[in-house]
Amino acid sequence: MIAVRFHGRGGQGAKTASRILGTAAFSEGFTAQDSPIYGSERRGAPVSAFTRIAKEPIRERGIITRPVLVVVADVSLIGDPAARMLEGIDERTAVFVNSPLTREELRAQTSLPGRLTTLDLTTIAVREFGKRGAISALLGAVAGRLVGLRPESIDRAVAQELADLGVDASLIRRNQTAARHCYEAVPLVPVEKDVRGAPGPTSLRAPTYDPPTRGTASITAGPNSAIRSMSGWRTFRPVLRPDLCNGCWLCFANCPEGAITIKPDGKPAVYYPHCKGCLDCVEVCPTDAMTVERETEATKTT
């Protein structure tokens, strides 16, 4: 059995990618199973999705803890503990990362284990679709190529899954074009055809009674959410040009996150770890002092 795990952020299309792969495999006569897992969090939050492909009936359910291929839609997921992207990965796992870096550069920057391969899907998507949005077809195509599915079945699966989502015909065609391009361009790495042997022993340890201060789902250390970095949510970032800023505070007033603070001189400043990249500040700025820059691997870690 081939077990593929997708990691994305809400809105990037990891779930649909897992379906494209599942549908394509099924159409080639395999038994397939695909499923997503996510919290009630939405756009920007980590999402995982799973596709299992086999010749025989699949006797597994739920999350994939020991994948043979991991497909990562966003490099910021690698360092995000909530994404659990590194779980079950070792040197024999094939790992695809959507990134402009080469596998060597990525290895140097992230010390990711596994058989790495990369392709800059975001640039392809922006070029093909002209805006930020889902890259599900691209992820599905890359995964399909790496596990050895045929391009025609990927093509049909992209059309079927996107049509189910209500995507219009012209955008589906552009997705198919981009997906075919990614299918051909992704550098190949070997993907093992079988899940490896039994896991090591686990010792059971049921919690004992804790006093009610801890035994109920309460938080007394708040406000503490600000220790989380939201940087990984961004595809673009707002950048202030202080020379153009008139100090009107519209950006400060309109930032849903409270990521914009006012400096002693009365001018705003974006605190990037708190910025989700909604760009509302850019939209409201009357002097165009807030500008937009595309996120890169280097800037995303700030």
Binding site: G10, G222, M230, P256, E257, G258, H274, G277
Partner: protein
């Protein structure tokens, strides 16, 4: 029609102190979160938020909370009753000398439109009738957002949701009219009642400041522009929120002891300006323009403002 006296005349008067901190799991560009953040700047941190099931449930998600105030998650149908229990207990404990007066907190219900317009209507009505001293903040994104955007009683005519799709048999999408919760609330004669929009931050801050003078139910209906549910890029939250007001679909108003005053007179720009920004209305324009539906929406808006012009209370 607008007020004579205002505390908040300039954006620079918006308190710099934050009480809703960053790092929430809510969507980028959430208009509801933006309104809550602005409201909390006036409410302060001596607050307990009594939350109903909805998108805001994710605000306090173990082990993180963005609030420097307290929080109690109740159910979808009974947050106002939770507010009743908290308020009553605080009063009793203070009266019996078991809680110092300076430890008192304001009680603020947070509910989405799904909870506010339907399921919690019984407990809300009860709380208003009992003159419970509390704030109610509804973040209205006109759909069951947290479950993936389905039709709610707040969904406006012509909007497409996951359960009011644009289909051959029903090309318009939602065929209901948005329930007028403002008037349902007003019929209870609460001392203070207002609509707010995050794109009108001074109006919002002003209303929360004014409401503080009133003891009893203080109700806020907040326009929660929703990039995820309404299908627009998060960058356009401010534009969507502004145009909803300017085209007359989201009147900014307040009612003190039942007397309605519109706090902003919109330009009444064509509703198409507002609708075209959002994917949930795209089927009204493509592949063919649904003229009847658009005319219906425009006529509904016009009828509302005609009544306002004639001096009717709404």
């Amino acid at each position: 029609m607008a007020w004579e006296y205002r505390i908040f005349k300039d954006l620079h008067q918006i308190p710099r102190e934050e009480h809703v901190f960053p790092g929430t799991p809510l969507c980028a560009g959430c208009g509801g979160l933006e309104s809550l953040r602005l409201a909390a700047k006036v409410l302060g941190n001596h607050v307990v938020y009594v939350n109903a099931a909805g998108c805001f449930t994710n605000l306090a998600s173990f082990p993180f909370t963005p609030l420097d105030a307290s929080w109690l998650y109740t159910t979808m149908g009974s947050a106002p009753a939770g507010a009743q229990g908290v308020r009553d207990a605080l009063d009793v404990l203070i009266a019996k000398g078991r809680l110092p007066q300076d430890e008192d907190v304001k009680v603020v219900v947070l509910g989405g439109d799904g909870s506010t317009y339907d399921m919690a209507l019984s407990s809300t009505s009860g709380a208003i009738t009992r003159r419970l001293d509390f704030y109610y903040f509804c973040y209205d994104n006109e759909a069951y957002g947290n479950t993936g955007v389905q039709l709610s009683p707040a969904t406006p005519y012509g909007a497409r949701t996951a359960t009011s799709p644009c289909a051959v048999r029903n090309p318009v999408g939602a065929v209901q009219e948005k329930k007028d919760i403002f008037e349902i609330w007003r019929a209870h004669r609460p001392p203070y009642l207002a609509t707010v929009s995050p794109r009108f931050p001074l109006d919002l801050e002003e209303k929360f400041a004014r409401a503080a003078a009133y003891r009893g139910p203080k109700l806020f209906l907040g326009f929660a522009a929703c990039p995820t549910g309404w299908l627009f890029d998060p960058a356009y939250t401010p534009d969507v929120a502004r145009l909803a007001v300017e085209c007359g679909m989201w009147p900014l108003k307040e009612a003190i002891d039942g007397n309605v005053v519109h706090t902003y007179l919109p330009k009444l720009s064509p509703i198409e300006d507002y609708l075209k920004l959002q994917g949930r209305f795209r089927h009204l324009f493509e592949p063919t323009v649904q003229k009847d539906a658009l005319a219906h929406i425009q006529a509904t808006v016009k009828a509302y403002w005609d009544r306002v012009q004639q001096g009717d209370s709404v």
